[in-house]
Every structure is written in structure tokens, then in C-alpha cells.
């Protein structure tokens, strides 16, 4: 599944932000190559 993959973390302001996803996945030993938080206005 995610094992061995480079991860792109796309968070959302009204959901889980990108840095939080990156921190959680980084803590799981995964390589996060890009993280961002999108917002819909």
C-alpha cells in the first residue's frame, strides 16, 4: 500500500492540514516529498 512509496500530502484547511499529515506519515517512516494545505473559499 503506502510502503516504499514517496508520499504527496495534500491537506485542507477545513480538514487535516498538510503539515499534520506530513508529520504523521514521517513518523511512520514514510518519505513525504511534498506537502501543502489547500483551502476552498
Amino acid at each position: 500500500m503506502l510502503k516504499g512509496k514517496k508520499v504527496i500530502a495534500i491537506g485542507e484547511r477545513d480538514g487535516v492540514p498538510g503539515p499534520v499529515i506530513a508529520e504523521c506519515l514521517g513518523g511512520a517512516g514514510l518519505e513525504v516529498v511534498f506537502q501543502v494545505t489547500e483551502c476552498f473559499v
Partner: protein, 104 residues
């Protein structure tokens, strides 16, 4: 998904190969997650961004899906994701993203 981010994802796919990438979303609703998933699997549905007509077929997960949650260390899960689990309805998210992954 905004055009700048589409461009970055396209570049990363060129650099690493889309087969070596996975996208993990943090959307608060299933509709937004579905549009994001379509963008990085089939191409930009608005046909306006850098991923228009570019089917990268990158598997997409939501950070609160069980498949992802189980790999996150318990401490981080409790500190960073537990609250989101209370306010975000994960099941509709899981359904649209699983359907998206099954099409790959």
C-alpha cells in the same frame, strides 16, 4: 486542486515515476476528496490545469482511512488525528477513494 499544486505533482511524477508515488489527502468532505482523487488519477476534471489530460494513476488515500491510520505511531495518532476523527465523516471518504483506487 489549484494549478500550482497540479504543476508540482506533475513534476514529482516526472522525477520519481507516478508508480512510486501515493497521495494522502486531508479533506474535510468526500466531494472535495473525490475531485482531488480524480485530478491525480484521471487528470484535471476542469481541463484547465497542468494535469488536464494527464492520467497519472497515483493511488489516493485519506489520512483518516484505516489503511493509513494503522501505520501512524499511536502517540501521533492520538495527538494529531484523534480530534479530526470526531468531526470528519470518514466512511464516505473511504468509499469514494476505494472506488478510485479500484479503477487504477
Amino acid at each position: 486542486m489549484n494549478f500550482e499544486n497540479q504543476g508540482i505533482i506533475k513534476r514529482l511524477a516526472d522525477q520519481y515515476g507516478p508508480e512510486n508515488l501515493a497521495v494522502v489527502l486531508g479533506n474535510g468532505d468526500a466531494q472535495g476528496a473525490e475531485v482531488f482523487a480524480e485530478t491525480v488519477t484521471q487528470g484535471d476534471p476542469t481541463y484547465a490545469g497542468p494535469l488536464a489530460g494527464v492520467p497519472l494513476k497515483i493511488p489516493v488515500y485519506h489520512v483518516l482511512e484505516e489503511e493509513v491510520m494503522t501505520v501512524v505511531p499511536e502517540k501521533l495518532r492520538e495527538e494529531k488525528l484523534q480530534l479530526s476523527l470526531l468531526v470528519i465523516d470518514v466512511e464516505p471518504m473511504r468509499q469514494v477513494l476505494q472506488a478510485s483506487r479500484e479503477k487504477l
